[in-house]
């Protein structure tokens, strides 16, 4: 019984572990581990930082993808969860560290569940009253919610958020996470003969956070993939495609929406906490409406409901302009100052245009999930094909349990 169910699930998910795939994943894994060593060694320190920031965006995009891509609810205030995770983590973390200084190195890791819980609870608190709202109303309410959170933080509510000046307050520092101190003192090496200036690697805090963020991204991808394949994921798909039909087939719409909201929020919260610790600082400026829009952009451009899509989207939205700016600033690619600022200025203009054109010509995104693509392009016949294919795979696979 359990085995049969598993097999149906694997058939529904994107594919099997072919040797090609294993090789590809290994290559990607090696590249992810090696990149910061390479960049730090050759003195491109900015790249590790940018990659870490892109990683945070990947987490955000994957989290929002649960809400927008899987459940089909447009959330324009997602950045609020990022803010709540960051602030909850820093405020609670500082309090814990103050009362138990011995916990110092563990504070960040202990705060992960705290930030996740705060974000999930806010997700529930937002989700419960707005469940009955239709798509576009929901978008507006979430937008209003995101703004309310930012304004409350900005107004130094209850005297704990320190208003526009941000946290931690002057003179207070977030404790260094486990192992960072040791790595900074011990993990470095140099290869004199390599490159023009030699190869000098030292384990900076950027490298540390890069690896933490990569691990968190891998965790996110794993969980999100499992969610997509789960019973809950299938009820999201059903709900997204036709709420009334799904409801009459026994999908609990209320429950499915609440799960989507809080599970999406969790990743925003964890990313926020990590952002705060990585930057050593949070202020309400980081959580404007435009940031929410960028995350939505990443999901839409990459392809709603698709994990590789969310990653590509985050890389394009957050990574490309930063990487160009970083390379130009360090003189690796010859660009003048005004050209660099033109690139970052035109970024938003181009994104706006891309969103419009994307909806007209390729609403399914760059790397769409197959199922979502057929929903967004109802005129093509893919839906029917995919349905029968899934059915075939499911029947085919039940014959070979344990594959």
């Amino acid at each position: 019984m359990g085995g049969t169910k598993m097999d149906v699930n694997t058939a529904v998910s994107s594919g099997k572990m072919t040797p090609m795939r294993i090789a590809l994943y290994t290559l990607m894994g090696v590249a992810l581990v090696a990149m910061p060593i390479f960049f730090e060694g050759f003195g491109m320190l900015f790249m590790t930082r940018i990659l870490a920031l892109v990683g945070l965006y990947v987490m955000l995009a994957l989290g929002l993808n649960i809400v927008v891509g899987y459940a089909g609810l447009l959330d324009l205030g997602y950045i609020a969860f990022y803010a709540i995770g960051a602030y909850a983590g820093v405020i609670v973390g500082s309090a814990v560290f103050k009362s138990m200084p011995g916990l110092g190195p563990w504070t960040y890791f202990l705060m992960i569940p705290v930030a996740a819980a705060f974000a999930a609870l806010t997700g529930l608190a937002l989700g419960t009253p707005v469940l009955r709202l239709r798509g576009d109303y929901l978008a507006i309410v979430t937008l209003g919610f995101g703004e309310i959170v930012r304004i409350i933080i900005n107004n130094n509510a209850f005297n704990i958020t320190n208003g526009a000046a941000g946290l931690p307050r002057a003179g207070v520092f977030l404790p260094k996470p486990l192992g960072l101190e040791w790595l900074q003192n011990n993990a470095f090496f140099a290869i004199p003969g390599m490159g023009a200036n030699g190869f000098n690697f030292s384990f900076s805090s950027n490298v540390y956070w890069y690896y933490i963020i990569v691990l968190l991204c891998v965790l996110t991808i794993f969980v999100v993939q499992r969610l997509d394949d789960s019973r809950l994921g299938r009820s999201w798909a059903a709900m997204r495609e036709d709420e009334v039909a799904a409801s009459s087939m026994g999908v609990n719409i209320m429950q499915a929406k609440l799960w989507a909201f809080s599970l999406g929020a969790v990743w925003g919260g964890i990313a926020g906490l990590t952002f705060a610790n990585f930057q050593q600082f949070v202020s309400p400026e980081s959580f404007t409406f435009m940031e929410s829009v960028f995350v939505v952009c990443a999901v839409v451009i990459g392809g709603m409901g698709s994990i590789p899509g969310a990653i590509i989207g985050a890389l394009l939205i957050q990574g490309t302009p930063e990487i160009i700016r970083g390379f130009a600033a360090s003189g690796i690619i010859p660009l003048k100052g005004e050209q660099v600022s033109a690139i970052s200025n035109y970024r938003n203009l181009v994104f706006g245009l891309v969103m419009v054109m994307m909806m007209a010509w390729r609403p399914q995104g760059i790397l769409p999930s197959k199922r979502r693509a057929s929903e967004l392009r109802p005129d093509t016949d893919e839906m029917g094909d995919e349905e029968s294919e899934t059915l075939y795979d499911a029947q085919h696979d039940t014959g070979q349990p344990g594959e």
């Binding site: 927008v68 089909g72 447009l74 324009l76 009253p129 707005v130 009955r132 709202l133 239709r134 798509g135 576009d136 109303y137 978008a139 507006i140 309410v141 937008l143 209003g144 919610f145 703004e147 309310i148 304004i151 409350i152 107004n155 009334v244 409406f289 435009m290 829009v293 939505v296 839409v300 200025n345 035109y346 938003n348 203009l349 994104f351 706006g352 245009l353 891309v354 969103m355 419009v356 994307m358 909806m359 007209a360 609403p363 929903e375 967004l376």
Partner: protein, 324 residues
């Protein structure tokens, strides 16, 4: 004292409410016909302010002629527009008319390019497209016009019209309130009496049936996308004159609040949007007078969320039936 404060805030509320109502009408017109939230509407309000400023500068500033000598034929007109009270009124009338037409055409163009191709797409698609248009317009103004606050002249000056219970009411406030109400009555009459208004109402009731009855649906939709932005541009110019400066992101908050106003009144309902605008303007100025200016935006958003949850149909709207 308290009475003075209340009256002063009520007058501010009416002024603010008039502007909100003018913007809200655009949301409600488009929503009534297409069932979509025109996210770019707040940017059309902003564009209206910028177009208005441009026309006003052209009509009044001698620097323009100094910089562009080929415009020297404008000099006598500028003389007329700046010298007398009649001239100022004529100038403002031209500013408003040009801005309404330009922004109205912008609205129709946006509909044609960004929304019409998506008319049969899932509901999320036009919404995302609208967010894209909004980002594009904001950044176009930021890049090509100005990235900071631009001063906006008030040709009416700081003259006081009359005073109520010791509270002075400026000419500008009276003009804003009177113009807003006049435009609303005109729109209401047009939609309920004229042939085109009838066509618009039919289209909003049932698009397909209206099409079968020989109504040009696209014309109705284009008209909604012309009138809404035209009214928003009036609000944009008033907002510039009222606050004294305009900036590329000025549309966001008034846009959100006008949407709130449209929802309070019952989205899709024209009279509801007018009522909602005034209600929200009053609530907001009373709240900022008596509670806290820092939280006045939170109060507006809070009202939006509460109305959507407890009375999604709004004050005057019929309950929205989800179509299967």
């Amino acid at each position: 004292m308290l009475v003075n404060l209340i009256i002063a805030q009520l007058v501010n509320g009416l002024t603010l409410g008039g502007m909100y109502a003018l913007i809200a009408l655009g949301y409600t017109l488009v929503y009534g016909i297409l069932l979509m939230i025109n996210f770019a509407h707040s940017e059309l309000f902003m564009s209206g302010a910028f177009v208005g400023l441009g026309v006003m500068t052209l009509l009044t500033s001698s620097k323009v002629i100094g910089r562009f000598p080929w415009l020297s034929w404008l000099a006598p007109a500028q003389q007329f527009f700046t010298s007398s009270g009649v001239g100022v009124i004529c100038m403002l009338a031209i500013v408003f008319l040009v801005s309404m037409v330009v922004v109205g055409i912008m609205g129709v163009t946006i509909e044609r390019l960004a929304y019409r191709p998506l008319r049969h797409a899932p509901r999320l698609a036009p919404l995302i497209s609208a967010v894209g248009v909004s980002i594009f317009l904001q950044n176009a103004v930021l890049l090509w016009i100005s990235s900071s606050q631009v001063p906006f002249p008030n040709p009416l000056g700081n003259k006081m019209a009359f005073s109520v219970a010791g509270v002075d009411v400026s000419v500008l406030k009276v003009v804003i309130i009177v113009t807003a109400i006049t435009l609303m009555i005109a729109l209401d009459t047009y939609v309920s009496r004229s042939r085109m208004g009838k066509a618009m109402r039919a289209t909003s009731q049932d698009r397909e049936a209206a099409g079968l009855m020989g109504i040009d649906i696209n014309r109705s939709i284009m008209l909604a996308f012309f009138i809404g932005p035209a009214l928003a541009s009036v609000a944009g110019i008033f907002s510039g004159m009222y606050y004294g400066s305009i900036v590329f992101y000025m549309g966001f908050l008034p846009g959100m609040k006008a949407f709130t106003a449209a929802v309070i009144g019952g989205i899709g309902n024209l009279r509801g949007a007018m009522l909602g605008g005034f209600v929200l303007g009053m609530v907001e100025s009373l709240a900022s007078g008596f509670i806290s200016t820092g939280y006045k935006d939170v109060i507006a958003f809070g009202i939006l969320i509460l109305v959507l949850i407890f009375r999604p149909g709004g004050l005057l709207g019929e309950s929205v039936v989800e179509k299967v």
